[in-house]
Amino acid sequence: MMVRSNSIRRTLHCALVSLAVCIFAGAGDPSSRFTEIGHQLMCICGCGQILLECNHVGCPSSDSMRNELMAAVTRGDSDSLVQQAFVQKYGPTVLAAPTTAGFDRAAWIMPIVALLLGFGIVILIVRAWRNRPEPMLADGVHASPGAELEKFREQARQETDL
């Protein structure tokens, strides 16, 4: 039993390491890094576009920003260093998405909280509804949940849904 659990653990480790190799393989390629980081930055000319997507004629900013990015990537600066340099030079609005530090974290946390809360609420609602007593009929008689009634319901559903 012990041998079996060890072999499962080893297989899982191997799978994780392989996955990590697959994920991080090619991460150092300058061209792909330029594209990846360039899509996380905004053009600061006011066009409101992602840096590598800004193409408006005569843009005074995007060309020089792209050159700076290419130089940083060629130098081998890390992603966070490149982003920090851009933030220092152009301000926090140069980042295309909020960071995961300080109040910016709220931007990312809120959707997750909403998702969890939402699912929780729906499950509570479903439970509450299931436990709710069957609404009374006009003459005070409860509807029979018998098999015969179910059969007719199914028949009605099939006939009306087609």
Partner: protein, 681 residues
């Protein structure tokens, strides 16, 4: 023209005030009193409002065609050499004109509503009064705060400033009207819902009326959103169709909530459940449509599409607050009439799938709303703005959208009340196997077959999302197909018709259900189109005569570059020959346009579209040597977005068609046939 237009606006405002006040007094009085006749005059006044606003709109368009630059609005949004269709589009191309257009559509909807009052005179009278109140707001806004007939100050100019170059595109003549028909149209379901709430309307008839109006409006908004995406893709030249800009988000939010309502309304119709929820959804859809307008017109959120900053934001803020207060007041007062008639019997049922469907739509709406407002919230809290762009929305919205796609596959196959395990197994086994086969085929087919093939989900999270989209899309397609097949088979067995004819008859018998399935299939096609974005490629190059650019499996050769000129615009363009596998497959001409009147430049990309991928070329400008700088994109599967949009429109249209009555078969006892011969025969 300015005087006529101005007077028509004032008349429309006066009639709206009368329609509201007289209609309200008539509703508050006893039904058999003389106030009933006053109520009738209020209805007729509401009808005439449409004529007055139409006259104002005609006056503005006529001013554009007559090049009447004494009107400030015409001076700022038109010029003499502007082509005819764009002079027509002047009506909605600026702040004041678009608000007049809004008022026109609102009065047009009101015109139809007030003509159809016999369906339920009392409910329609309530809806008419609520609509008149909204009309009073918009007409006051147009007349007092954003009047399009204001005259220009200073000397009269010989020519106008011209229309924004980005708006000089054929789709701009239909995209805004569609979008506005959607936004404005949500006022009608809201008017019915609030009317039903105020009068504690018995039964579900109001919900039938509201659902149809919502479906029409939703159809328009869907068209508007897709046309806007197509315009962005074809004109803006950044190679994409959705940038998560606040203005785009503003159109998406009411669409998402409206979609949630179109699903949850079925719970109320079939099971008498979710009455409170539906009431709030109708209100939220209307409110978000107005909120979107507030966002784009107040200048509170910066956007590339937004209208200029103006004072009308305050008007909208007040309107939003008042409409919210009115709705909450009547909801608290009359919510006792909104009790559920049934209880939920099982977790695995159509009802619970609708609950989760609504939850996900609402979550998506909240995510979009949160992302749109976060820069402002951040500014208030920490004193500096942040950007919330595509990377945020893609990370937050895509997982929720995938869950929705899963529910699209699962929901329709679950039975009302409760679904047995056997039924789940029977309905889902083959569609799931089929979807898995499709996903594995896409994953393990060599990439050389096309950009979408050879997707390895462990290479990138976006590949994982794309593959999941393909798997779930296949699942939805197979479940939809199985629904058509099973229904068709039942009819075929009963009538002896062929399978296709049976499926047509099936659809005709329940247009709403099968129209809905077609809409789902359209959504699937659009999602497949969106999934291609993970595999986009782009490359930029300065191209002299004979220069080559390699991208994907295309070889682009610059054959020539030149210039052109006409009274409205000057242009520079490149002539690029496209080769694939050594064979020339076409020539493309990306352009850069310079509009003389507005002194603004814009790009005009050239797109070579196939079912597999788009080759998208942009003329970015010239280098120091006068050679064109060309940016090439290869965007896989984009065409499926537009095909999906058409299918959604088709499905919506079908769902609006009245279903054919189901033929009733009367069985005659056999003994009649074998009746004993009458004596003497």
């Amino acid at each position: 023209m300015a005087v006529i237009g101005d007077f028509a606006l004032l008349l429309a405002l006066a009639l709206s005030v009368y329609s509201f006040a007289a209609g309200l007094l008539a509703l508050l009085s006893a039904e058999d009193s003389g106030w009933a006749r006053v109520g009738e005059t209020a209805r007729r006044a509401g009808i005439v409002v449409f004529g007055a606003v139409l006259l104002a709109a005609i006056a503005l368009v006529a001013s554009a065609f007559r090049d009447d630059f004494s009107i400030a609005y015409i001076f700022h949004h038109s010029n003499r050499d502007l082509p005819g269709p764009y002079k027509f589009a002047v009506l909605w191309s600026g702040q004041e004109g678009s608000l007049l257009f809004w008022a026109l559509l609102l009065s047009g909807y009101g015109f139809v509503l007030r003509l159809r009052y016999k369906t339920d005179p009392r409910l329609f009278a309530y809806a008419s009064v609520i609509l008149a109140a909204v009309q009073v707001f918009f007409l006051s806004l147009v007349y007092f705060a954003a009047n399009p007939f204001g005259l220009i100050e200073g000397p009269l100019r010989a020519d106008g400033s011209g229309l924004n170059p980005l708006l000089q595109y054929p789709e701009m003549v239909i995209h805004p009207p569609m979008l506005y028909l959607g936004y404005v149209g949500f006022t009608i379901p809201f008017a019915f819902a609030l009317g039903a709430l105020i009068m504690k309307y018995p039964g579900e008839k109001w919900i039938h009326i509201t659902r149809r109006w919502t479906m029409v409006t939703w159809g328009f908004l869907t068209c508007g959103i897709f046309l806007g995406s197509h315009w962005a893709y074809s004109v803006l030249g950044w190679g994409g169709y959705w940038g998560w800009d606040p203005v785009e988000n503003a159109s998406l939010m009411p669409w998402l909530v409206g979609t949630a309502f179109l699903h949850s309304v079925m719970m109320q119709e079939k099971r008498g459940m979710l009455k409170v929820w539906n009431m709030w959804l109708v209100f939220a859809t209307f409110w978000l449509a107005i909120l979107g307008t507030f966002l784009t017109r107040s200048g509170i959120i910066s956007s590339v599409h937004a209208f200029a900053q103006s004072s009308i934001g305050t008007w909208f803020a007040w309107f939003l607050a008042v409409s919210f207060a009115v709705f909450v007041f009547f909801f608290v007062k009359n919510k006792s009439g909104l009790r559920s008639e049934h209880k939920l019997e099982a977790l695995v049922s159509r009802e619970s799938s609708f609950l989760f469907n609504n939850l996900l739509f609402l979550l998506l709406t909240l995510d979009v709303l949160w992302g749109t407002w976060f820069p402002k919230i951040s500014e208030l809290v920490q004193g500096n703005k942040v950007t919330v762009g595509a990377p945020f929305y893609n990370r937050v919205a895509i997982p929720v959208a995938l869950l929705l796609l899963l529910l699209t596959a699962v929901g329709p196959l679950l039975a009302w009340r409760k679904t047995s395990f056997e039924s789940v197994k029977r309905n889902f086994l083959w569609p799931t196997i089929g979807a898995l086969v499709v996903a594995l085929f896409v994953m393990f087919t060599p990439a050389g077959w096309g950009s979408i093939f050879g997707l390895k989900p462990w290479h990138d999270i976006s590949y994982f999302y794309s593959l999941m989209t393909i798997f779930l899309s296949a699942l939805v397609t197979f479940t939809v197909a199985s629904e058509f097949y099973r229904g068709g088979r039942v009819i075929s067995e009963k009538t002896g018709q062929g399978m296709f004819a049976s499926m047509v008859q099936l659809t005709h018998r329940n247009t709403r259900r099968y129209g809905g399935y077609i809409v789902h299939f359209g959504v699937v096609l659009a999602m497949i189109g969106f999934s291609g974005a993970a595999l986009n490629q782009e490359k930029e190059m300065e191209m002299g005569y004979g220069d080559h650019m390699q991208i994907s499996n295309y070889d682009l050769v610059c054959r020539s570059y030149t210039q052109d000129d006409n009274p409205n615009q000057a242009s520079e363009w490149a002539l690029i020959d496209v080769y694939q596998g050594g064979q020339k497959i076409g020539t493309m001409t990306p352009q850069r346009l310079f509009y003389k009147a507005s002194q603004q430049a814009s790009t005009k990309p050239d797109i070579r579209q196939t079912f597999k991928e788009d080759l998208y070329l942009v003329y970015e400008g010239q280098n120091d040597k006068g050679q064109p700088v060309i940016k090439a994109h290869v965007n896989p599967m984009v065409i499926w977005i537009w095909i999906g949009a058409w299918v959604i429109v088709l499905g919506t249209g079908l769902a609006l068609v009245e279903p054919a009555p189901v033929p009733v078969t009367v069985r005659v006892p056999r003994m009649v046939e074998r009746a004993a011969p009458v004596a003497g025969d």
